[in-house]
Amino acid sequence: MNSEMIVFLVLALVSIASALGMVFSRNAVYSALFLVLNFVTVAIFYLLLGAPFIAMSQITVYAGAIMVLFLFVIMLLGAESLPPSATLPWQKPLAYVLTSALAVEALYLVFTRARSSELVTSPDASLNSMESLREMALQLFSQYLLPFEITSILLLVAMVGVIVLVRQEKAGQK
């Protein structure tokens, strides 16, 4: 039990609790806030794993942009809580059963099959340096250049798509 393990366990608890809170909150705004908390803990995990760049991106993009967008939409639509509906009553119990089965199976697989002594993370000090960041950037822009460009095009397409979706409404009003 070293200090890092303690940090990990505490954060894992917070992370799982906030995930559960997200799923079970009545109010969608609280759900969103729980999810933000979860994302922040995941970002801290990234830091522990020696990936500061991804950690910061996670906070900027997920917490800073995506979740704010969610909050906007929830607030604008007034969709904090929906009236209950009675369709598919058999689904909920089945869902619980299946997901718990999934969790048990996954954990069983992870802790029996994948366990080996070499699979231990040891946050490398070198990973946290400026050089490693530069190395990663070089890889991103050489080996992964094509995916990078495709991603940028995808973002552009998404942007255009959203504008088109919103524009239709305005044209109708005119």
Binding site: V29, V36, P52, F53, G64, A65, V68, F72, M75
Partner: protein
């Protein structure tokens, strides 16, 4: 890691918070006095010599004020929102270097809390977190005006964050690092504000919008929103919002100084002289302090001079002008540096300011033409 390390850490963090909190208090006084001077008034001068105790008086007043919590609010979030606003404005200062380092009792003490290799990303992520306090305050108040204020403000902050990121990119390219310390040291020969004056200007505009200062103080537009997202707040909670705003001002001034005006470093032409921070470490914080004071004065001056911008124009300015402009600036900076490197002639670096200023003038001309063409329309 022995306990002294933790002790040093705690002390540095504590001191930083103390600086910001005191700075906030006296910034209010500074602003009131400066504004008064510009409006040919005197300003607060009763409490203490020249009103120096005025902040303390204000604090006492706010602490003892009755706190009202309206019955229709979402209590938890209502309580959480001011905290969520203040915390980022404090935390963001952690990566800003205040000076070089000095030795005391055999220990090298660095004048910053943390040197993160992704320092600038840290700044931008904390800046993006800062939206939450405002939007949640607006929503939890369960009040149309507050909600509008919150949403406006966060939309504004998200919009300007893109330009902010691009301005960061300019600084990253020029400093060849994401660490703020490296960026400051890269300005030893020349401030980035000289090489990329338009970038510095764009950054100033963007941070004004990011901290909701005049002329971009939409969320608090009294005439339209009855004070916006903090309409329902009072007492200490209101004071927290107030505090956050002024701390943000201080912090963004520090960031601007660090990224474009040489941070804690002296003027570039003083670099190897007696006035260099390489000779006396204690000059660093002083230089930074002077730069921050100057930038704060600029902000106050702007508030005293310019009227508020209409909301749709504000957004249009951010998306249609500032974003393309900063994109062009990032491109010009990168190309200029590449050119200078490829042809290995340092003089070519001056291509950057020349082209930037040309782009800037073109932008101004475009805005001017547009405004004249439809003088009351959108820009």
């Amino acid at each position: 890691m022995d306990w002294t390390f933790w002790l040093e850490w705690v002390i540095k963090g504590f001191v930083l918070c103390l600086i910001l909190l005191t700075g906030f208090a006296y910034l209010t006084l500074y602003e009131r006095r400066a504004l008064a001077r510009m409006q040919i008034r005197i300003g607060p001068n009763r409490a203490g010599y020249q009103g120096l105790l005025q902040p303390i008086a204000d604090a006492v007043k706010l602490i003892f004020k009755e706190e009202l919590t309206p019955s229709h609010v979402y209590k938890v979030v209502f309580f959480l929102a001011p905290i969520l606003t203040v915390v980022p404005s404090l935390v963001i200062a952690a990566v800003i270097p205040l000076g070089t380092q000095f030795e005391i009792a055999g220990r090298t003490i660095t004048l910053y809390v943390a040197d993160v290799n992704v320092g600038i990303l840290y700044l931008s992520s904390i800046a993006s977190i800062a939206v939450y306090g405002i939007v949640l305050a607006g929503w939890s108040s369960n009040n149309k005006y507050a909600m509008m204020g919150g949403i406006r403000s966060s939309a504004q902050m998200i919009s300007y964050e893109l330009s902010l990121g691009l301005c960061f990119v300019i600084a990253i390219i020029m400093g060849n690092s994401m660490s703020l310390i490296d960026i400051v040291n890269a300005q030893k020969d020349m401030w980035f504000a000289v090489i990329q004056p338009v970038g510095a200007l764009a950054f100033l505009i963007v941070v004004l919008a990011e901290v909701n200062r005049a002329p971009f103080d939409m969320p608090e537009a009294e005439q339209e929103l009855t004070a916006g997202y903090h309409s329902e707040y009072s007492g200490m909670k209101f004071a927290l919002f107030f505090m956050a705003e002024y701390q943000k001002m201080i912090v963004v001034s520090m960031i601007t100084a660090t990224l474009f005006f040489g941070g804690y470093r002296e003027f570039w032409f003083l670099k190897d002289t007696f006035f260099s921070v390489d000779y006396f470490w204690w000059l660093g914080p002083i230089y930074l302090f002077l730069k921050v004071i100057a930038l704060l004065f600029l902000m106050i001056w702007i508030r005293a001079t310019w009227p508020r911008i209409r909301y749709d124009r504000l957004m249009a300015f951010g998306w249609k002008i500032l974003l393309p402009l900063s994109l062009a600036l990032a491109f010009i900076t990168a190309s200029g540096i590449l050119l200078a490197q490829e042809l290995s002639s340092p003089l070519l670096i001056w291509v950057i300011p020349v082209f930037s200023i040309i782009v800037f003038l073109v932008t101004v001309a475009l805005i001017n033409r547009d405004l004249r063409r439809k003088s009351y329309g959108r820009i």
